[in-house]
Structures are given as C-alpha cells and as structure tokens.
C-alpha cells in the first residue's frame, strides 16, 4: 500500500467518524440494549448481609456450564457449599447457590470459579493441541 493510499484511508476514516448518521446508528444500538434490559447474571434475593452467601441467576446457560462451574467452585477450600439447579426445564435459567466459610464473599468465590474454569479450558485445549502436534498416535489417511 502506498503512502498516498494510506493517507486517503485515514481521511476516509475521519469522515466516517464525523458522520452524524453513524452516530445515530450507535445511539439506536444503545437504545436496543436498554430495551432488552436483560442481565446475563443477577444476584437473587436471599443473600446474607455480609455477602458470604448468595444465590445467582444466570440466563441462557444449562448443565454444560452449571455442573462444571459448581464442581470448580466446590474445589475452593473457602467455599462451604455450592449447588446449582435449573428450576424449570422450559426456562433457560440456571440458579447457583454459593455459601462460603466467611473469609471471602460469594461473588469472589464465583469469580474465582469462573476464572479457574476458563483457565482449565485453556489448559485442556493446549494439551489437546500438543497431543495432536506430537503425532504420537495411529492415523488412517484416506
């Protein structure tokens, strides 16, 4: 790409960003988000005062996330109890209850569980890729 072309593309970008029509588009998008007004996760009533016990509702998740997340949170030695349920089979809602021994809040425990699960996924993915790359398996090439 020549310098001239780059200059032009910059110019074009500037024009675009000053375009009132585009700003309007962004505003519309924001409005749509407000209209939906659905949180992926919320804290349900019934949390303890100090926050060491709480229930969460996660929407559009099922056993795929729920069971793995529950078991991951249970591994945390600070967590006294963790359980999940799907209250109704035709509602895409996952309820998760966390109670800790009091040194961390339920939100912290949840966050840690999520982080650990994400990291574990990354590790399994890497291990799988390594195993594929190692070529140490039987293959049939058609």
């Amino acid at each position: 790409m020549s310098a001239d072309n780059q200059e032009k593309s910059h110019e074009k970008m500037d024009i675009d960003s000053n375009n009132p029509a585009q700003d309007e588009e962004v505003a519309v998008e924001e409005e749509e988000e407000d209209d939906q007004d659905v949180e992926k996760i919320k804290i349900l009533p019934g949390a303890s005062e100090d926050g060491t016990a709480a229930s969460f509702q996660i929407i559009e998740e099922d056993h795929t996330l729920g069971n793995a997340l529950k078991s991951m949170i249970m591994k945390n030695p600070e967590v006294e109890f963790c359980g999940y349920s799907i209250p109704h089979p035709s509602e895409p809602k996952l309820h998760l209850r966390i109670q800790t021994y009091g040194n961390i809040t339920a939100v912290e425990a949840l966050h840690k569980g999520l982080d650990d699960l994400a990291s574990l996924c990354t590790v399994v993915e890497e291990k799988f890729s390594q195993s594929v790359a190692s070529n140490n398996y039987k293959t049939v090439i058609s």
Partner: protein
C-alpha cells in the same frame, strides 16, 4: 515441561478423517461431561435453513424435501467467517450471514434418476473459503440421496444455508456421535448391570478395560474413589475435521465462562459505582477485580486475586495463572500444575 501426573492430560489414541479417539485424564467428570456436551451442542456449523421451492413435481412433499436438504452436511471449516443471521444487519439474508445453494434436476429419460447432494451448486460468493460445499464422503463421491425422480418430474430449489448450533436443531451438529466412557471395570458402581446368573459372564468387556487395572475382589469398595480417565470417541459428520471439533467445543465452553465473567464484572462495577448500601460484600467491592482492564490482556490471572496469598500461601490462585486468558501460546512453559487442588 509439565510432569505427567498433574493437571489435565490428553492422550490421542487414534485419528481418522472423520474420527478422533482420545483419553482425557486427571480432570473432573463434570469438566469432561461439559466438554462432551459442548462438542455435541454448541459448536457452530452450516446447514440449509430456508428452502425456496420453484418447482417440485417429485413424489415427495415440499416440506419433506426441505427437511432432507436441511440434514445434508455442508463444509463448515470456515464457518467462523460467517455471522449469525440474527446478528446480521441485513433484512432477510445476505452473503455475510448465509451461503446460497441451488439445485435443478429434471428427468428426461425413461427409468428412475437419483438426485444427490453433489447436484447442489454453491453460489460463488464464498469460493475462496471452505464453506458451504456438500460433503461427499461416499466411495462414488455422490453424497446423500435427496430424492428419486421419474420421467418429466422436476425439482428446482434455492437453499439458504445459515450458521447455527445443534442446541437449536440437530442438523447443525458437527458430530454424529460422541462416545464417552469412564471406569470400564465399573469399580465405582455407577452402573448396575442387569444379569440372569452372573453379570461378569453375560456382559461383554469394554475395549477400554485393557487400559485400566481389573478390580481386586478382596479389596473393599472405595466410596471416595472418583473417575479419572475419560475415553472420548468423537465421530464427525464430515463438516469440520475431528480435531478442530474438539478444539472448537472447548473454546465454546470457555466463551460461555467468559460471557458470565463479563456480566458479573459489570454488575459488580455498577454496584460499586452506585455506592449501594446493600452491596454484597460491603466497601471496596469494586476494586477487588481490578476494574475494567482486567480482560484487556495481561491482568487476567495476575494480581486480581492477590496471587498466592488469597488462600493462605498455597499457589491456588495462580495454578493456571501462567496463561493469559484467550491467548494460547502452544507449549508454553509457564503453566505450573504441580500444586493440585486436593
């Protein structure tokens, strides 16, 4: 490098053009099952979703043919370059969110003519991508049978293939089956075998028995034992190569987690900003997770949990902390799995 007896281990046993057989070890049943569920129901593929029928004088009804077309596996290696139709700004469908295939078959001779998946023609908008071509894996390279037509019968259709996941409809599944097995000797008694006289004699042994020690009849039942080796046998329908299906399945699972983390951070930050008295956890809540930059790169798994101090000196917090989230450098040596959870 890693020692072999800590952290999850993946051992691939066999790879074929449409199959992969591997063992996942040193992890929970819950995680293994989530990986299985994710592979089966969350990996996006391409499938025919709308069929515009111009002419159908075959013996099969329009909706019958539409259903058959929907089930035809289409090449989905590059499906990530396609948007979901619901997220696309187009009104109906466009080349950003769909692939168009056409089919025109007419029988002019005596006898019966068969219409195969190979007769579907992909419109050339995505010709440089591996996307939309019908999978022809049979010996004759004809693909699935769509219908059979007699003299003067005609089938002319336009098919719009869209990206989707098999949680919505099984036609989007990348796999025909996922074999999932653990504890082949049934030491954990998760299975109760029906028998007439002797279960051991009447039931065939699992192929995976060779990989595990047979049970010692003198030993007491270990009620604390947990399954450790998970034998996967993933058989694809040919739309995505099997190794890629596994990787995408794991990524989809991780994306789910990331989605919840994102939303959780949002509500935590909002609560902190509002100075809400009913804040769970009270003051200083907002700073615990290190603010908005956390997923911007390096902060993930770093200081957000105060490193090793959080759980009393053990490396619990940093166990998988070496890998920055979403940044999988192959064969990184930072990952330190030497401290188990137990």
């Amino acid at each position: 490098m890693q020692s072999d007896n800590s952290g999850p281990i993946v051992k691939i046993r066999d790879v074929q053009p449409d199959c992969v057989n591997f063992v996942l070890s040193e992890c929970d049943l819950a995680l293994a099952n989530s990986v299985r569920r994710s592979i089966m129901a969350e990996v996006p593929t391409l499938a025919i979703d709308i069929v515009e029928i111009e002419e159908n004088s075959t013996v099969l009804a329009d909706e019958f043919i539409s259903h058959r077309l929907g089930l035809i596996p289409l090449q989905s290696d590059d499906v990530d370059s396609l948007l979901y139709n619901r997220d696309c700004s187009c009104g109906d469908y466009c080349e950003l969110c769909s692939v168009v295939l056409t089919l025109h078959a007419k029988c002019t001779s005596e006898g019966i003519q068969t219409v195969y998946a190979r007769d579907l023609l992909v419109e050339p908008n995505h010709s440089n991508l591996k996307i939309g071509q019908p999978i022809l894996n049979d010996d004759a390279n004809k693909g699935s049978v769509i219908c059979k037509i007699k003299k003067h019968q005609e089938l002319k259709v336009k098919c719009i293939a869209k990206k989707g996941i098999s949680k919505e409809h099984a036609k989007w599944s990348p796999v025909a089956a996922v074999g999932f097995e653990y504890d082949p000797w049934n030491k954990l008694k998760h299975t109760d075998y029906w028998y007439e006289e002797d279960a051991d004699k009447e039931w065939p042994k699992s192929d995976y028995c060779a990989y595990e020690e047979p049970p010692n009849p003198d030993e007491k039942f270990d009620y604390t034992a947990k399954p450790n080796n998970f034998y996967f046998d993933v058989e694809t329908v040919g739309t995505i190569n099997p190794n890629e299906v596994i990787l995408r399945g794991i990524r989809e699972l991780r994306n789910k987690v990331a989605g919840v983390i994102y939303s959780l951070d949002e509500i935590v930050a909002r609560n902190a900003n509002e100075g809400n008295a009913e804040n769970i956890g009270g003051a200083g809540f907002g700073t615990v997770y290190g603010g908005a930059t956390q997923y911007g790169g390096t902060a993930y798994g770093g200081t957000a949990y105060g490193g090793g101090t959080q759980y009393g000196g053990t490396a619990y917090g940093t166990q998988y902390g070496g890998t920055a989230y979403g940044n999988n450098s192959a064969g990184n040596d930072d990952y330190n799995p030497t401290t188990g959870w137990d």
